[in-house]
Symmetry: C2
Subunit: 215 residues, 2 copies
DNA sequence: ACCTGAACACCGTTCAAGT
DNA sequence: ACCTGAACACCGTTCAAGT
C-alpha cells in the first residue's frame, strides 16, 4: 500500500476520485474510508478539505453540474428547450449518482443556478412573462428529474440478470382479472421503459402546452 | 427495556414501525438496529420476516402504495387524471420516504401496477390508443415523481432554520453580472418553490398537450 | 418457526498528536 | 496547514445455538 506523499491531495482530486467510486459502486455503496483507501491516505485526510460526507456529496453534485452544463444551441425556442433538457438527461444518465444527489440532498441553491440562467433566458426570449418563464423552467426541470430517475432505475434493473428475471416474473404473474388494462397494454408499456422516445414524448406534451400558452 | 414476548411480531407490525421511524428520522437515518430496539427485540428477529434491509424497504414502499392509492373520482378525463396525480402527490408529500423508495430502489414491477391500472383505464376511456395511453401514463407519473421529489427537498430545507439562512445567503450572493435573468426573476422563482400551484402548472401543460393529441 | 447472542467486517466522526 | 492513529458509537449480516 503506497502512501501518497504530503500536499498531493486537493479538493478537485478528491471530488473526481469520489465521483469515480460513486459510479463504480453506486451512491449508496460509496464510503469515505474506501475513498481514502483509493487515494492512498488515512480516512481523516479528507476532513482537511471537507467538513463531512455531506459537504463532499454537495461538491460532487456541483462539479457535475458545472462541467456538464447543457447548452441551448440555436434555432427556435422549442429546439433550444429540447437541447437543454436533453443535455441534462444525458448528463444524468451518464452519471446516475447525480439523480440521487439532486433528489436526496438539501439544496443550497447555488448548484442549479447556472442551469436556471440559460433556461430562463431562452424562455424569456421566446416571449414568456416572468412568472410563466419561472414556472415553465421548474416544470420542465422536475420532469427531467423524475423521468431520468425512473429511467435510471429501470436500466439498472435490466442490467442485473436477476432483476430481469424478477421483472418478467412479475409481468407474467399479473392476473387479467385484477389488472385487465395493464395486461392488455403490456406490449405498449414495455415501449415506455426508458429510451429517448419516451423522454421526448413527455417533453413534447410540455412544449405543446407551452406553445398554446404563448399564443 | 421490556422484551417483547414471542409471536407478537408480524410483517405488518414491522413495516408500520419501520415507516414511523423513516418519517421521524429520514430514510437515510433509518437502521435495522433502531427498528429492533423500537420493537423490543434483538436485531436478528427481523430476519425471520425479511431476508434483508432492501426487502424491508420494498415492503414499506408496497404498503404505502397499497394503502394510499389515489382514486380517479368522476367527471371529464382531465379531472380524473388531475385527481390521480394529485392524490399521488399528496401521498408522497405525506410520506417523503416514498420518493426515495421509488427513486432509489430496484423496481420489482408489482408495486406500481395498481396505480397503472386505474390510470390507464382513465386514459383509454378518454379515447387514447394503446401506445398513447401507455406513454402518457409514464410521462404523467414521472412528472409527479420529479416535482414531488423537488418539492419535498425544498420543504425540508425550509423547515431547518440553518437551511433557510443558507438559501437566503445564496440568493443574495448571486451577482447580476453572472446571472442576470435569475436575479431579475428572483421573486417569480420563489413562487415556484412547492405548493399546489406550481404542481398544477406543469400538470396543466401536460394535459393541454394530451388534449391536443386527442383532437 | 421464532428469536437470541456473540462475532465479523464494516461505517462516519472526534480527539490528541505529529510534521 | 496537512495528515496520522487510536478510539467511539454505530452499521448490516452470518452463524451457531436455544425454545
Amino acid at each position: 500500500m503506497p502512501r501518497t506523499p504530503r500536499n498531493t491531495l486537493s479538493p478537485e482530486l478528491i471530488v473526481e476520485t469520489a465521483l469515480g467510486l460513486m459510479e463504480a459502486k453506486g451512491t449508496n455503496g460509496f464510503s469515505l474510508r474506501a475513498l481514502a483507501g483509493e487515494l492512498g491516505v488515512g480516512p481523516m485526510a479528507i476532513y482537511t478539505y471537507f467538513r463531512n460526507k455531506d459537504e463532499l456529496y454537495d461538491a460532487v453534485r456541483d462539479h457535475l453540474l458545472a462541467t456538464g452544463a447543457p447548452t441551448p444551441g440555436d434555432g427556435p425556442w422549442q429546439d433550444q428547450v429540447r437541447s437543454i433538457c436533453g443535455g441534462l438527461r444525458d448528463l444524468m444518465l451518464q452519471h446516475p449518482c447525480l439523480v440521487q444527489l439532486l433528489g436526496g440532498r438539501p439544496l443550497s441553491g447555488q448548484e442549479t443556478v447556472g442551469l436556471a440562467e440559460i433556461h430562463l433566458r431562452v424562455l424569456r426570449s421566446a416571449g414568456f412573462g416572468p412568472e410563466d418563464a419561472a414556472r415553465a423552467h421548474i416544470a420542465l426541470f422536475t420532469y427531467v428529474l423524475g423521468s431520468t430517475s425512473w429511467e435510471t432505475q429501470l436500466k439498472a434493473e435490466r442490467q442485473d440478470p436477476e432483476g430481469r428475471r424478477r421483472l418478467r416474473a412479475t409481468m407474467e404473474s399479473l392476473s387479467s382479472a385484477d389488472y385487465p388494462t395493464v395486461v392488455e397494454l403490456a406490449p405498449e408499456l414495455s415501449l415506455t421503459s426508458g429510451g429517448p422516445e419516451q423522454f421526448e414524448y413527455g417533453l413534447d406534451l410540455l412544449l405543446a402546452g407551452l406553445s398554446a400558452r404563448l399564443g
